[in-house]
Point group: C2
Chain length 206, copies 2
Amino acid sequence: MADQKKTLGVVLYPDFEILDVCGPVEMFGNCTEQVELKTISHRAGPVRSTQGVAMHAEFGLADAPKLDMILLPGGNGTLTEVGNQPFLAWLRERCAAAELVMTVCSGSAILAVAGLLDGRRATTNKAWFKTLTEGTPAVRWVSEARWVEDGKFVTSSGVSAGIDMALAVIASRFGAETSELLATMTEYEWHRDAGWDPFARVHGLV
Amino acid sequence: MADQKKTLGVVLYPDFEILDVCGPVEMFGNCTEQVELKTISHRAGPVRSTQGVAMHAEFGLADAPKLDMILLPGGNGTLTEVGNQPFLAWLRERCAAAELVMTVCSGSAILAVAGLLDGRRATTNKAWFKTLTEGTPAVRWVSEARWVEDGKFVTSSGVSAGIDMALAVIASRFGAETSELLATMTEYEWHRDAGWDPFARVHGLV
């Protein structure tokens, strides 16, 4: 199986949201036969999350290995990264070469500003939906969705929605039984319906 | 508020389960007025999780600051740590001085082997419940519970149960409205009932 393993690049940046990363990482990281995770940030070393704990990036952008799949989290740092041109250029290059690109929360706003979601359906977190989407009219933003899949881009709603997105992606790529096993193992009651989104109503979007 | 902040020690060890840590960290890390998080491991530096990504420990056991609260995760590394006498001694000392000790998944088995749960009600993950509990008959193990609170010890079931435990602890200590806000912000449908545990049935424990 080793040769068939996919490399999933987990992209970190200062002030990322910890559960945006570690929800999907819990699920993909337990797909040990199918996926190998690599953590990447602007530079290798510790990267501090908004929640105060740091994750360790193995690679900087410049020396990141080839990535089959990409996970881009959201967080307060989004506000800085949407103006980080070298990072946006790196995302354009790496997303073009990847077969699957996933975002959680405001991560989709970074892809949108990079122009990578033009003409595509996508979602983002619901508490800041209007702010996050207003500058990118070429994206077909979906205001009520737990996650949205359009081509190789899968964008999810806020924070914990990344866990449901990950299980859906794993089910479609590696088999539904794998996701069922992961959800049971992690004692997680997952939302299998991409349209389940009570938070759209909470925030007056529907 | 600065003087009233509680220090929450997030304890890491090699081969910990990433969501055991980052579920509760998402919630406590957003209680910025009430809590300050510190990551601690055997030694400062990167600590690899079972899922392949590493978190950064700011402190080693020897130089960890005073801890008001402790979070101890589970994971495959539990099997090693239950035999790590210096670590068990450190936990005895630090748990005695703390006002609140929380575990996720197999983390409670480490406290149990350390003798810290003798005579107390506690739970652990349901897939490995019998294995994790069989050597510690002095603990009043609860086979059906999302989490169990007994004195200053709050033990939760497998992996994602730590998120519900965290929200319950935050509700009781910092106010229910804080937990409601956190759950909405992170778009998390939380289980408010400590007795909710469908996984006990899945694994034939009830």
